[in-house]
């Protein structure tokens, strides 16, 4: 499915923040999660994902840490900062408001996900 640019804008960072709220993740994990859990809608090339992560880091929304995983490989893990959590809450409120508004005008059913 193709998403118009206007709708797509800003979704990437929100999605990444949302995924990181549940647990800290490393780059490849995020790629897989974005692709699998959004049915490909939010799949993005890694040439885009890594810069997005660095951008979030430079804004102070995520922090990073190199750690040895259970497999023995070293990976860079991303986790939300306090500022990132606050930002995610703010985003979430806005998205809910937006979705509610869309339901209100009948663009989507209130008990199903728009597809």
């Amino acid at each position: 499915m193709r998403i118009e640019r206007e709708l797509m804008r800003g979704a990437g960072p929100v999605a990444v923040l949302q995924l990181l709220e549940q647990r800290e993740m490393y780059g490849y994990e995020l790629v897989e999660a974005l692709s699998r859990r959004t049915e490909g809608v939010l799949a993005m090339g890694q040439s885009t994902l890594y810069p997005l992560l660095y951008n979030l880091e430079s804004k102070g929304l995520v922090r990073t840490k190199w750690r040895e995983a259970a497999s023995g490989r070293y990976r860079k893990y991303y986790a939300l900062t306090r500022k990132g959590i606050a930002q995610l809450h703010s985003y979430r409120k806005q998205w809910r408001g937006l979705v509610g508004a869309m339901q209100g005008i009948g663009l989507m059913e209130s008990d199903t996900r728009g597809s």
Binding site: R5, G27, Y74, R75
Partner: protein, 928 residues
């Protein structure tokens, strides 16, 4: 299996693929991709190391999850875009200049944004220095050439003197059968004033003359305008300070020795001193009181000839060398007339009025007014210098403007081509950054900054170029007949205009496609890994740009070729005289102090001195040297058996008074009969020598020597004693002209050009001639001492200038076109590398690939060339009257230009195509 990627890759700044592959055990291609990203991110130190580690971990995770390397690379995306985005995302906190930025911008968000945009633009431009240099150079050439040329055109054509209500001013000319823009004699002018008081509020005359100025013991010649007392009030020009002339300054002949200084001469000679008013100055042997200084913006009636002095016209006999009274002589034509229409009077009424005056003059003075003569009016606003010159001035200015306009257009086309090529690159980056949350406004700001920065750099370089061009032009000592003085400042309006045009082109072709590309579907653009594929519209646009450039180069080259050939033809043309080195001195024996008898004695003494100058082999004099642009003299004769033209009482033939030495000194041979000699005294029978063309015209197939010319109107008969070889009289291009030589011994002239043929340096000889005159009579009037080569150079000047300028611009255009072509071909090569790889892996050989790539470039050249050929054929017809000795359809030019253009195009396509054909197919296949 336990693999630790991170710790293996440690503190080195420069990784190479092999080491990284060994350390990480990742496939070679993956390591290449990682390093490409790191490279274009521009990160250093710990952050760089961190990026490598993370990307290695990423691919290892992918491989561990069972994906293939090719799959992983496919989904990773373009390395350069990634690197740039990484750089952008990590820049703010990473930048060591961050604190400086904050300090510098004082925390002002707008200034901060500007600063950020600017530093981003500088970084981007520095990333591709070749592109930047070419774009800036293209712009500089276009902007510089345009600014310089339009500054000249503006000074010559567009700038108007501050005349009061110029729409009501008209110039009056005397029209004869041969020439519609003749000038008047003073008696004619007085009759004109008397007969047109119904239609003209006022009518003023002006006349150009050279003055001998004596200051601080030195003598130099300066141009002056002799004007009527109402001249300044008529055109509404007042003095800078002091006063201009009043009607009472111009009442009785010789009674008003007052002068108004021209502004530039006042600056030059008096350093702009205010004390000058009231002081006296010696001009041509008489003291004048300076009463005022003309304003800076009024430099006389004749644009380009800036008078040092204005004098009342009643002083004309004091400054002219002629032995006759200029104010009374109806036959002496040198007066320009300008009049102001009365309120309510129309141009048509004025035309009727001046024609009525002309009719009366024809009836009263049939000797000087022929039946077909008339007077014509030209609105003063339509006159640039003088109507007969204006056609050439306009044509030259137009030609120059068109040529530099084309050059600017080509520069814009080049810039556009480059920016279009980069647009594809950019499209992806913009899409990605929009996805990352950048606003459209920010992006527009950044792209705009980049384009404007290019424009500013190009503009700055253009100014430098333009100023140097103007300097060069002003410094070039052109062999002009009169001192030309134009106010040639660099025109800022034009400069601004050129910069804006180039910027508009940059924005149109660079920014618009990039932005447009981001509109439809960001996700699709992000996934689209093959940059530039299938954008036929942009490809077509780039191709048309090349075609346009080639067509324009073709046209300019044809123009340059024709002018070059014309110039060579002019140079090769034989003027019929002056082939040997000689010095020239134009002078006059002061008629107010020497009678004709005394004058001849004086000249004899002078020639004795000339003959003693070392190296001088022959000396002669003429009253009217061939190919001079200042004066022409004619004689009216009748020949038995040859009817004069209808409405004419006789044949008007160009003439000169010469002495016996003239023919030897000038290199004109006596073909038959004899030269003038001592027996041709004043009381002896009148004799003449005619040119061969004249002999052929009046006595075809017969001997001219011994025939008789009946001089009109006095009826004196002259015997033809010799026939001289033909020489060019008015222009190099003319067919041989009838010419009559009269002996100086029988026809005295006080005005003369001395010709001294010399075996030594002509420059030195010229100074020796001048010194000899000064020695004999320090107050003798000398106009000019120069060499024969310089004299002939005046005639060659238009051809030389046109050839030079057009050649310069054509080479410029060819360079621009070649650069553009090279850019387009190498870009298309870079876009098709993948395709090349496939073709070559399928068995196509390098030669075939190269032929294919170069061929696509050459096809564009062929199309452009054909369009250029058609345009050139159309346009060269307009050049016809500006060419000499070469037709507008000159085969050599039309063969040489395509060959040259084709050669350059071949080279411009061949170089990038060859590079592409040498690429390793495997690498090409891997590239995206």
């Amino acid at each position: 299996m336990k693999r630790q990627a991170g710790p293996y890759i440690e503190s080195h700044e420069s990784f190479d693929v092999d080491r990284l592959a060994a350390a990480s055990r990742l496939p070679h291609a993956v390591c290449e991709r990682i390093l490409a990203v790191v490279q274009s991110s521009g990160l250093t130190g710990e952050r760089r190391l961190d990026l490598v580690r993370e990307l290695v971990a990423h691919f290892e995770d992918g491989l561990a999850a069972g994906r293939s390397a090719a799959e992983l690379l496919e989904s990773f995306g373009d390395s350069e875009v990634a690197g740039r985005l990484v750089a952008h995302a990590t820049h703010p906190p990473a930048s060591p200049g961050h604190k400086v930025e904050q300090l510098w911008t004082r925390g002002d968000p707008l200034v901060f944004r500007l600063w950020r945009n600017l530093s981003y633009a500088v970084r981007r431009l520095m990333q591709s220095p070749a592109f930047t240099a070419t774009a800036v150079l293209s712009l500089a050439l276009g902007i510089g050439a345009n600014t310089a040329v339009f500054s000249i055109v503006d000074a010559v054509l567009l700038e108007r003197p501050p005349l009061k209500d110029p729409a009501r001013l008209v110039d009056v000319y005397r029209a004869t059968a041969n020439f519609p823009y003749g000038v008047f004699s003073y008696p004619d002018f007085d009759d004109l004033v008397a007969g047109t008081s119904d239609v003209f509020e006022g009518i003023a005359s002006s006349q150009l003359s050279m003055l001998q100025v004596e200051r601080d013991g030195a003598i130099d010649m300066q141009p002056a305008e002799l004007v009527t007392g109402n001249y300044f009030s008529l055109i509404g020009v007042s003095a800078r300070f002091g006063r201009t002339f009043l009607p009472e300054d111009d009442v009785a002949p010789g009674a008003h020795p007052v002068a108004v200084l021209g502004h530039s001469y006042w600056q030059r000679a008096f350093g702009g001193s205010m004390d000058v008013v009231g002081s006296q100055i010696r001009l041509t042997g008489r003291l004048y009181t300076i009463v005022g200084v003309a304003p800076e913006d009024y430099a006389g009636k004749f644009r380009g000839i800036v008078p040092a002095f204005f004098l009342p016209r009643m002083m004309v006999n004091e400054v002219q060398s002629g032995e006759s009274d200029e104010l009374e002589q109806r036959g002496s034509h040198s007066v320009f007339v300008r009049a102001r229409l009365k309120p309510g009077a129309t141009l048509e009424q004025a035309r009727v009025a001046v024609s009525a005056v002309a009719a009366r003059l024809k009836a009263t003075y049939p000797d000087s007014w022929s039946t077909g003569d008339d007077m014509v009016l030209v609105p003063a606003e339509d006159v640039i210098v003088y109507p007969p010159f204006d056609r050439f001035v306009r044509a030259a200015a137009l030609l120059l403007s068109v040529v530099v306009g084309l050059v600017l257009l080509m520069a814009c086309a080049n810039l556009a081509g480059f920016l279009l090529a980069k647009a594809t690159d950019r499209r992806k980056e913009i899409a990605v950054r929009l996805a990352l949350g950048a606003t459209r406004k920010t992006l527009v700001g950044q792209l705009l900054t980049e384009t404007i920065l290019l424009g500013i750099l190009g503009g700055a370089a253009g100014v430098v170029l333009g100023v140097s061009l103007l300097r060069l032009l002003l410094a070039a000592e052109l062999p002009l007949p009169v001192p030309i003085d134009l106010d040639l400042g660099l025109n800022t309006t034009v400069l601004l205009y050129s910069v804006l045009v180039s910027l508009a082109a940059g924005i149109l072709f660079g920014l618009a496609p990039a932005l447009q590309a981001t509109r439809p579907d960001v996700a699709a653009t992000l996934r689209d890994e093959t940059a530039g594929a299938g954008h036929a519209g942009r490809q077509r646009m780039r191709n048309s740009l090349v075609i346009v450039q080639v067509a324009m180069s073709f046209m300019l080259l044809v123009g340059a070729g024709l002018f070059l050939r014309s110039f060579l033809a002019t140079q090769a043309a034989d003027p019929g005289f002056g082939r040997d080195p000689a010095a020239l001195l134009t002078m006059a024996v002061p008629a107010n102090r020497y009678s004709p008898e005394e004058g001849r004695v004086f000249v004899r003494g002078l020639f004795e001195r000339f003959g003693q100058i070392p190296g001088v082999e022959a000396v002669g004099l003429t009253s009217n040297i061939h190919l001079n642009t200042l004066n022409s003299q004619s004689i009216r004769v009748n020949v038995d058996g040859v009817e004069p033209p209808p409405d004419r009482p006789g044949h008007d033939i160009d003439r000169a008074e010469v002495d016996a030495g003239f023919f030897d000194a000038s290199g004109i041979r006596i073909l038959r009969g004899r030269n003038f000699s001592d027996i041709d005294r004043e009381d002896a029978p009148r004799v003449a020598i005619v040119s061969e063309a004249m002999a052929r015209r009046f006595w075809p197939g017969q001997e001219a020597v011994g025939r008789t010319l009946h001089h009109q109107p006095d009826g004196v008969d002259m015997t033809v004693i010799g026939v001289a070889s033909d020489a060019k009289v008015n222009s190099l291009g003319e067919a041989p002209v009838s010419f009559v030589y009269l002996p100086y011994s029988q026809a005295y002239t006080s005005f003369m050009t001395v010709i001294a043929r010399t075996s030594l340096s002509p420059e030195w000889t010229a100074t020796q001639l001048l010194a000899a005159v000064r020695e004999l009579d320090p107050d003798a009037w000398v106009w000019e001492a120069k060499t024969m080569a310089r004299h002939l150079g005046i005639v060659l000047l238009p051809a030389r200038l046109s050839a030079l300028l057009l050649s310069v611009f054509a080479v410029l255009a060819l360079t621009l076109a070649a650069v553009g072509l090279y850019g387009i071909v190498s870009y298309s090569v870079s876009q098709r590398t993948h395709e090349m790889g496939i073709r070559m892996s399928l068995g196509a050989d390098a030669g075939a690939v190269m032929r294919m790539l170069a061929g696509s470039g050459l096809r564009l050249v062929a199309v452009g060339g054909l369009i250029g050929l058609a345009l050139a054929l159309l346009l060269t017809r307009a050049l016809n009257h500006m060419l000499f000795g070469v037709g507008a359809f000159d085969l050599l030019t039309f063969v040489a230009v395509p060959v040259l253009l084709g050669g350059v195009a071949l080279l411009a396509s061949y170089v990038p195509a060859r590079r592409a054909s040498r690429i390793d197919p495997v690498r090409a296949l891997r590239s995206e």
